[in-house]
Amino acid sequence: MSTTVETGGREVPLAMLRDGETGIVVSVKSGYGRAWGLKKRLMDMGITPGTRITVVKSAPFHGPMEILVRGYRLAIGRGMAERIFVRVEETQAGCRES
């Protein structure tokens, strides 16, 4: 399993991604207190380091995000998305912006 620290691209919480952007999971922070179960749950749903995640859209009023992961559609709360750190694929983001 590769654990090399990638240098290319920026590393940001998933919550910062805009609609349509894709990132590769770098790490999932378990956060404070007893949130360990949530981290495990996220990983059980397929959000493990190295996984490609595409943000489809976010619900209004700071609502959950709809993401595509491992070929299916998952909704995750904002708090959860703050804990998932991804490396943004610049090319994809660049394509959208041009």
Binding site: W36, M43, M45, A59, R73
Partner: protein, 647 residues
């Protein structure tokens, strides 16, 4: 029968069509209840096949065999400890990778299994082709392609399961090989725990120890502290080696294995045009259109449930009351006859006319929403609002239904994931003024004081719900769970499954609610017949008269209100001897009476539902705290209103 029995368990992710397969297998021989002491539903059924009596247990839909949720713990215990003869692992062919992640864990439990590769039709519509034989070969487990909604492959599935049981078919799962470093350590730990007497396979225990599974860690700690220490030490070694936590490492590698298998067996030819389901998804989760569709759907659902409910309620009521002359002809109109009619039959009628007409359409609508996949979209849209109450989006459904009737609303709390969320949702739901309470609010305050004051009461109610929801969220133990929810592709619900789910849950409801309704009705009628009601009202007088400033007669009405809330108003008119209640009650008294009726206790049918869902203790706590709440609010309202100079 000839005693040849076997137990088959159905296991798999949520939304893969497990319940459809269950319904195909067991048809009308089902029993739906709860797992002992848990709010988790247990569906069991039997069928006869090739001389066997087969018990089928439908395990809850889960994504992993960790102990994140009660469902996962229950499923794991059942498979590992109760050891079903064969496990049928239902997997969704259109989301193969994530489903295989679960399959690989089942294989680690070393249970005899067969895989139902379901929703083959959906997969091919999405352009996914799967090489079944290759999958079979890689996993070492028989794989049967199925389309459950059409009954395709179900017979073959059963055949394979029986063949495995008879030993005619070898099902030797080829377990996942983890990376070299991990694999070495798994073997060392497995060696250490081999003789610790745990009900799980040694390799499985070793993996779960490294995965940081609390339940297993505790069990090993008790049975063999040395092995637990070894696992901790080796785990730390791995963490140093890889720079990730050990659970992350194991989960990643397992997913990696699932990914490799999926890639090897499936061919993808993505369709060019977005499917109807995708278009529907985009509209129903749109930031504007989504809410409009939701409002329209919920409104029509609400109207459907209560239009159907009212219609059948009245129909049943007139039908059943029409039986009174026959009944009296049989039992007479003496003491016994009256007691039987008033206590037993009217209790039955109350149950049949309040609960049944609403519960049936509600269940139908709920399963329709759930099975189609729309429920998860509602949760997506409403999550941020419900979050402020410590709940997530799905709780919106029961809360809304509460305005009609609290009984189906409380039943609907099952859609929440954790016990804690179910309890909070049920608690706030019972504070929502149902149709019967609306009768009191509108019939008393609305009619005699003014509709604007009735609205004020509704706002007050919302405020209290919000505050108490937050409070319950703060004080109840357990971690707050954020939303992590699959939004499955839309699909047409399988009608027969929806119908049978409705029917068997209804039976369960009847079994629990009716005895309670009848016993309480009988008790009150008996007290009335024995002339002891006035004794009770005088007992209640310090509260009703002293604290709430109401006429002494209201004690009786509040007592009867427990049976049916709208009865409280009817009785009030009888006892006070006038239908113009403004003659007998001051506006302040009306307001206080209404506030108390709004909050003081869920009706007996709701209490019965709470008992069924959460057990006696929690039902009692909710009931008592709500009585207390109602009295405090009523008393406060009286004092505030008097202070402001109203009379």
């Amino acid at each position: 029968m000839n005693g040849r029995r076997l137990v088959i368990a159905l296991a798999g992710n949520a939304n893969v069509g497990k319940s459809v397969i269950f319904n195909y297998l067991t048809r009308l021989h089902q029993h739906i209840g709860n797992w002992p002491g848990k709010t988790v539903e247990k569906a069991e059924g039997t069928l006869h096949f090739k001389g066997y009596t087969i018990d089928v247990v439908d395990l809850p839909g889960i994504y992993s065999l960790s102990t994140y949720s009660i469902e996962e713990s229950i499923s794991r215990r059942f498979i590992a400890v109760d050891k079903p003869d064969v496990v049928i692992n239902v997997i969704d062919a259109s989301v193969l990778e994530r489903n295989l992640f679960f399959t690989l864990q089942l294989m680690e439990l070393e249970t005899p299994m067969v895989i139902a590769l379901n929703q083959m039709d959906v997969a091919s519509r999405k352009g996914i082709q799967i090489d079944v034989e290759k999958l079979e070969e890689i996993l070492g487990v028989p794989v049967v392609p199925t389309i459950a909604v059409k009954g395709v492959g179900i017979f073959k599935l059963l055949e394979k399961a029986v063949e495995i049981f008879e030993g005619k078919l070898s099902a030797k799962p080829k377990p996942v090989k983890y990376g070299e470093e991990v694999e070495q350590r798994i073997e060392r730990i497995a060696e250490a725990v081999r003789d610790s007497g745990l009900p799980y396979p040694a390799r499985y225990v070793a993996i779960k120890l490294l995965e940081g599974d609390r339940e297993i860690q505790e069990e090993v700690e008790k049975a063999d502290p040395q092995a637990a220490a070894l696992a901790r030490r080796l785990g730390e070694e791995l963490e140093k080696l890889h720079g990730h936590s050990c659970p992350t490492l194991i989960t990643s590698e397992r997913y990696q294995a699932a990914n490799c298998i999926a890639r090897e067996v499936q061919r993808l030819i993505p369709p060019v045009k977005p499917t109807l389901g995708e278009k529907l998804h985009n509209v129903t989760t749109h930031r504007v259109a989504g809410y409009l569709v939701m409002a329209a759907t919920l409104l029509s659902m609400f109207l459907f449930v209560f239009a159907m409910g009212n219609f059948f309620s009245e129909l049943l009521s007139s039908l059943l009351y029409g039986l009174k002359p026959f009944f009296e002809g049989f039992f007479g109109t003496g003491f016994i006859g009256q007691l039987l009619w008033g206590g037993v039959v009217e209790g039955l009628i109350a149950g049949a006319t309040i609960a049944l007409p609403y519960v049936i359409p509600f269940y139908l609508v709920l399963y329709f929403l759930e099975d189609s996949g729309y429920l998860s979209r509602i949760a997506f849209l409403m999550d941020s609002i419900m979050h402020r109450m410590g709940l997530h989006g799905k709780a919106f459904i029961p809360l809304l239904l509460g305005y009609g009737c609290n009984v189906p609303a409380c039943l609907g709390c099952r859609i929440m994931e954790t016990q804690r969320e179910r309890l909070i949702a049920a608690f706030v739901t019972t504070l929502v003024p149902c149709a019967a309470r609306t009768v009191i609010i509108l019939g008393l305050v609305g009619r005699f004081i003014g509709i604007q004051w009735a609205l004020v009461l509704y706002v007050l109610d919302l405020l209290i719900i919000f505050l108490l929801g937050r409070l319950a969220f703060k004080i109840l133990p357990g971690e707050p769970t954020g939303l992590i929810m699959e939004m499955p592709d839309y699909r047409l619900p399988h009608l027969r499954t929806v119908l049978s789910q409705t029917w068997f849950r209804l039976l369960e409801f009847l079994k629990i609610a009716f005895p309670l309704i009848i016993v309480s009705t009988l008790t009150v009628k008996l007290l009335e017949a024995l002339g002891m009601l006035s004794f009770f009202t005088s007992l209640l007088a310090p509260v009703t008269v002293g604290w709430l400033g109401l006429p002494v007669e209201t004690g009786v009405t509040l007592l009867f209100g427990v049976l049916r809330k709208e009865l409280a108003l009817i009785m009030l008119t009888t006892l006070l001897g006038t239908t113009d209640l403004s003659q007998a009650l001051t506006p302040v008294q009306m307001t206080v009476f209404t506030i108390v009726s709004m909050f003081y206790i869920p009706c007996v049918a709701t209490i019965a539902t709470l008992v069924m869902e959460f057990g006696w203790r929690k039902a009692l706590v909710i009931t008592v705290s709500e009585v207390f709440l109602a009295l405090v609010l009523g008393g406060l309202a009286l004092r505030i209103l008097v202070l402001t100079g109203l009379r």
